[in-house]
Symmetry: C2
Subunit: 373 residues, 2 copies
């Protein structure tokens, strides 16, 4: 089997799962945080640094790569792994989210979405078939169905239509998908409407995808609303398939997502935050530019084993930011990514050892102190 | 001896030297290219990457560090080595060049230079004594006398006055310099006037500095003019002391500088060029953004052993630049630095093995082909 998902342990109290996802480029231990390499590079990081922080898989964006450098060039390179020199698994999104959020004027038709490039205004027409073909060209290990995202707040009728279209498009993606060394996941939409979410999940399950993504969350709703949808889907989604909560990267949401049966997460948060000096740490979130760190010779996070925390002081990293030096963005991105990867590794170990509820309590207690390190 | 310079071999044909400069933070093998870490970081690089490319020493700028974060903070950190986590030798300039080139309005007085910060316009007064004290606070292994630079073209009277002031200031720097774990170099000025250059060198030699810098070159003069000044100084400067040609980093100038008895070079060129995609290679200089590299799957430089050349294609690095991705600037800075360091390492080996003239010919032949790799 090129793809297989094995659940290794389930927390009896919460339903949190530890598992292994077998892919052509290696086995991914879940729960897992997947760093985002939008344009075939995880911002500020090199591939070998990604290996050093034990990133198991990176995500890349079909929309961006389709526009530049184009899938043809990446095919000539021998696929995205070789192009970007990353030899562990890659997940690609379908471009659905970006077509709606990034592009200029877009027109949704039954066949697909007409949109103009955010780079040069050129007109393009993205369809479920094209999104699938592009992802096959990229050669990612895990691909996504082309889906229709809606903005929140959103009325039920709009959400219903987007779910129905997402389902029709999912069928078309599955229909044309050929590569057996690539797993195609279905995406559950339905905004914040419980019945729509359930219906969407059940229809996708009937199509029998090798994994299920939960889309359209972390787009402005409250944490409680997000958790309600996850609680709703947890018992519906098949236990034996991986579940991927798209675009979620805040530490609290990761731990609570795991507690609701989620296996995979991705987000630009750690690298975007890193570039502006915002740090995610075991003691909460803070910005390195704050004057209270001027003479702070301690590490970003005393519990972290990353290069930034092992070798540099907060005072020095603050100086790098104030001076606009690239090493500042590098060290903070590095730490943030390592922190989220370690957090999920810790959750996994706790699940395997039957102490996830304690791990979760301890995380919240420490993270919410937000005390100055 | 905390400082010692040993000439290990001299090319009988050109006078090119291979030597060892002993410093409190290690032995530097010369000739050497010194990467510039203006604000306590070599742009786009981490300290461990600098070790990997075998940087033996880095340069940092007194003017910048004096303004931000301030020498007091760096002293609290335990000195510049600890602040920036670089444990090999550091050379600091005196701030003379920046006071004239970067600051806003400046007024030269006999006592020093009144200038306004390029950061916030605040007024400062830099003197030979302060420049020395600041460098002692930074704790660099090699410090520079505070000198007066003139812009080219420059009339002889202006140049003469600047030489006389530079000599008076050098005496004052030497007078107040206390740290015996820091070598203070004198700087030869004199624009393009042969007699002024000679006089300046002889006066400095009489003051008996542990090393001599050649300043005020690579500021717009022709290569021939630069080489004429070097040819002039080569027999005057004491053989047993190291010679440092300031601000020179173009490969041709490095090799020709070595051929004229220079031991040390520094320049922002490799990192500044790297950030805009300009590459220095064994086959000449080119910009990675050029369309001819669109489908070029080869390395930047087939003769280079750096991470960028070992692991990434020109097509991919071009994509990174076009997408504005930080990894592009990192890989090109990385390569450019490694190239200059390797070039000087190659020159050293050639001198030690008695084949420097052939090395020099071969370098020019290959570098001037400028052929597309």
């Amino acid at each position: 089997m090129m793809f297989e998902f094995r659940v290794q342990a389930v927390c009896p109290e919460t339903g949190a799962r530890a598992g292994e996802l077998v892919t052509p480029h290696g086995i991914i231990e879940t729960p897992v945080f997947m760093p985002v390499g939008t344009r075939a590079t995880v911002k500020a990081m090199s591939p070998r640094e990604m290996e050093e922080i034990e990133a198991q898989i990176v995500l890349s964006n079909t929309y961006h790569l389709y526009l530049r450098p184009g899938v043809e060039l990446i095919e000539k390179a021998g696929g995205l792994h070789r192009f970007m020199n990353w030899h562990r698994p890659i997940l690609t999104d379908s471009g659905g989210f970006q077509v709606f959020s990034l592009s200029g004027i877009n027109r949704i038709k039954e066949d697909g979405v007409e949109f103009s490039s955010h780079l040069d205004g050129s007109r393009h027409f993205m369809t479920p078939e094209l999104a699938t073909r592009v992802q096959e060209g990229l050669g990612s290990d895990i691909a996504m169905c082309f889906d229709q995202c809606v903005e929140l707040p959103c009325d039920e009728e709009t959400a219903r239509k987007s779910v129905e279209r997402t389902l029709r498009w999912a069928r078309r993606c599955k229909e044309v998908h050929r590569r057996d060394d690539q797993a195609l996941f279905g995406i559950v939409q339905g905004a914040l409407f419980d019945d729509l979410r359930k219906d969407c999940a059940r229809e996708l399950i009937a199509m029998d995808f090798p994994g299920y993504s939960i889309g359209g969350l972390s787009v402005g709703e409250s944490h409680d609303e997000m958790y309600r949808i996850l609680d709703l889907l947890n018992p519906i989604l098949p236990q034996e398939k991986p579940r991927y909560l798209m675009g979620v990267g805040f530490p609290t949401n990761l731990v609570e997502g795991v507690a609701r049966g989620v296996d995979m997460f991705d987000c630009v948060l750690p690298t975007r935050n890193g570039r502006n000096g915002t740090l995610l740490t075991s003691r909460g979130k803070f910005n390195i530019k704050h004057s209270r760190f001027e003479e702070d010779w301690g590490p970003i996070d005393p519990d972290c084993d990353c290069y930034a925390c092992r070798e540099f002081s907060k005072a020095y990293i603050r100086h790098l930011y104030r001076s606009g030096e690239m090493l500042g963005a590098r060290l903070c991105s590095w730490h943030n990514l390592r922190y989220l990867i370690s957090l999920m590794k810790g959750a996994r170990e706790a699940i395997l050892e039957g102490r996830f509820p304690q791990f979760r309590d301890r995380f919240h207690e420490l993270f919410s102190t937000g005390k100055v390190l």
